[in-house]
């Protein structure tokens, strides 16, 4: 069963036309920065990925393998040294509202209540700083507020939480609101950087369940960065493992594993021993043990 699950996900990166269903295209991206006079440290090397609309992609890798860098590039916060990235068919130049973002920390605006955090997105996108003086604003605000309350309940919070400030909420609650805040924008791409890593195991599980249900309901394209293999296998429909082939400076991380997971998700409870085997298998790749069968090395040259 394991072998059918990890059938290599083949693709060619010289595909001419961008199909409408491709949400994120990463074309031959490398990242490096100079250290010292002549040497450069390479973080990512020749990454090429096509992420389909509605896919739940989990980026997995050891600390420092550049998975967060890749996410920040999709976001537009950093730029690749070579190659380019397209989101919804257009190149990413700067951070904009094409993608929603849920970071690990500082995910909410501390100076705004839960409700204000939720309405922040639609409000600013319709009425910028001075537009708030325009007459239609109040009516619009009322309407957005109603939607925000719906979203709040949907994320499993009570209406009494709406007036609280983020510091009055637990970490799990904060992340719930942060996901809701990103969903309020109705952007088709949701980027999460270690979204649940700072939470305790029980909260973490409940948030994973929430995210799964949100995904199966709205089918957004999700790129989820994590270093937790179990979490990756539970959440994703596609798993991408980044690792560096060796620890020399000129070698950056590459995609060492790229596999489809069942859309219904996997868990220890439903898949048992098979799940544990898969965890072992994946971790072998992300640790950089370089002797599994060559046919599994999806992208590496």
């Amino acid at each position: 069963m394991v072998s059918t699950l990890i059938a290599p996900h083949t693709e060619t990166f010289d595909a001419p036309a961008v199909p409408a269903s491709t949400a994120v295209q990463i074309e031959n991206v490398s990242v490096s920065y100079p250290v010292g006079k002549k040497t450069r440290k390479t973080i990512l090397e020749n990454i090429s990925l096509d992420i389909e609309e509605g896919e739940f992609v989990v980026l997995l890798g050891e600390t420092g393998c550049g998975k967060s860098t890749l996410l920040r590039m999709i976001l537009g916060q950093e730029r690749p040294t070579n190659g380019r990235i397209l989101v919804s068919g257009k190149p990413v130049e700067r951070v904009d509202s094409r993608s929603g973002y849920v970071p690990q920390k500082y995910s909410l605006f501390p100076d705004r209540t839960v409700l204000e955090n939720l309405v922040m997105g639609p409000e600013t996108s319709a009425y910028h700083i001075l537009g708030r003086l325009r007459p239609g604003f109040r009516a619009f605000r009322k309407q957005v507020r109603e939607e925000a309350f719906r979203q709040l309940r949907h994320m499993g919070l009570q209406e009494s939480d709406a007036a609280k400030y983020p510091h009055q909420l637990s970490g799990g609650m904060q992340q719930r609101v942060a996901i809701g805040q990103a969903l309020m924008m109705k952007s088709r791409v949701l980027l999460m950087d270690e979204g649940f890593s700072a939470l305790d195991p029980a909260t973490r599980t409940s948030l994973q369940r929430l995210l799964r249900s949100v995904w199966s309901e709205l089918k957004p394209t999700v790129v989820f960065v994590t270093h937790n293999t179990m979490e990756a296998l539970y959440l994703g429909t596609r798993l991408i493992v980044l690792a560096r082939p060796n620890f020399e400076d000129h070698c950056g991380s590459r995609v060492v594993l790229d596999m489809k997971l069942p859309a219904s998700g996997m868990s220890l409870r439903s898949n048992g021993q098979e799940f544990l085997d898969l965890v072992d298998h994946v971790e072998q790749f992300s640790r950089g043990d370089r002797h599994p069968q060559p046919s599994l090395n999806g992208e590496s040259r």
């Binding site: 951070v95 973002y101 970071p103 100076d111 600013t124 996108s125 910028h128 700083i129």
Partner: protein, 286 residues
């Protein structure tokens, strides 16, 4: 009763004793003052250097109910206390010093806005930061001759002295605060379709505001210091002017109430800023 052991970090002094101890230094100071005053008055009953209670009372009365020497206001015979207070020396000095102080406080607002831009917009940072760093190192008082030439010797030179003295420090401080706003917050705001000014004025400025007010509280004293320096050197009214004048004929009976009055005013401003900060920013976690 708790054992008195001053070098025990884990000591738990009882409340009453701790309160009493906190008053001790005040009591000692007042006691020493009184002792000195009494012994000096024994030698010379007209001593002005350490005035006794009666002299102090007369000095306070003179400052709050009598006009300044240079004024030729003659109160009507049936003038009320309020009327007298309105034309008194301390009122006049507080008003003119306060006016200078408030104007320079208002002039710090554009400095804070500039700092927000320097910290947030890379082009502003490139243009201004190095110059402000340089300007911060110039001792404002050493510019005083230039200020007198440029702004004349009345109001504006003193206000300029305060602003030039405090603004660069304030700008650098606020720039640091703006830079320490987590990058995630700014990125998040952009993904919520905010434009540059939304991020500057509705995300970052709101978040640093409580820290800006705290920084202002710390800068109140330097501001007052520059104001006093300016007034002592060239002024025809103001709290420091009065202290400088009174020093010439050892008018300690007026100087001491003035010193305490200025301290009280500063405390009041500081306290109200702190209260305002708490009221306006209940979310702030220092």
């Amino acid at each position: 009763m708790a054992v008195f052991s001053p070098f025990d970090i884990q000591a738990r002094p009882n409340r009453l004793l701790a309160q009493a101890l906190s008053c001790l230094l005040f009591v000692i100071c007042i006691g020493l003052y009184m002792q000195t005053s009494i012994s000096r008055h024994r030698v010379n009953s007209e001593d002005r250097v350490v005035p006794n209670a009666a002299q102090l009372a007369a000095g306070i009365h003179a400052s709050i109910l009598e006009p300044a020497e240079e004024d030729d206001y003659i109160p009507a015979d049936n003038a009320s206390h309020w009327e007298l207070l309105r034309h008194s020396m301390i009122w006049k000095d507080t008003a003119s010093s306060g006016r200078r102080f408030l104007i320079s406080l208002c002039l710090l607002v554009p400095a804070v806005v500039l700092a927000l831009h320097i910290g947030l917009f890379p082009w502003f940072g490139a243009g201004f930061l190095r110059f402000v760093l340089f300007f911060d190192k110039i001792i404002a008082l050493s510019l005083l001759p230039i200020l007198f030439i440029v702004f004349g010797i009345d109001e504006w030179s003193k206000i300029a002295l305060i602003v030039i003295g405090v603004a660069p420090t304030m700008i650098l401080d606020v720039t640091q605060m703006v830079k320490s706003v987590p990058q995630e917050q700014i990125v998040k705001a952009f993904t919520l379709d905010a434009n540059n000014f939304d991020v500057a004025y509705r995300v970052v400025s709101r978040q640093v505001m409580p820290q800006v007010i705290n920084s202002l509280r710390l800068n109140l004293k330097p501001m007052m210091l520059f104001l006093f320096a300016g007034e002592m050197i060239a002024a025809s009214d103001g709290l420091a002017y009065r202290i400088a004048i009174m020093r010439r004929h050892m008018g300690m009976d007026v100087i001491l109430p003035y010193v305490l009055w200025v301290a009280f005013l500063l405390f009041l401003i500081d306290f109200s800023l702190r209260a305002l900060n708490r009221r306006m920013h209940p979310w702030f976690q220092p």
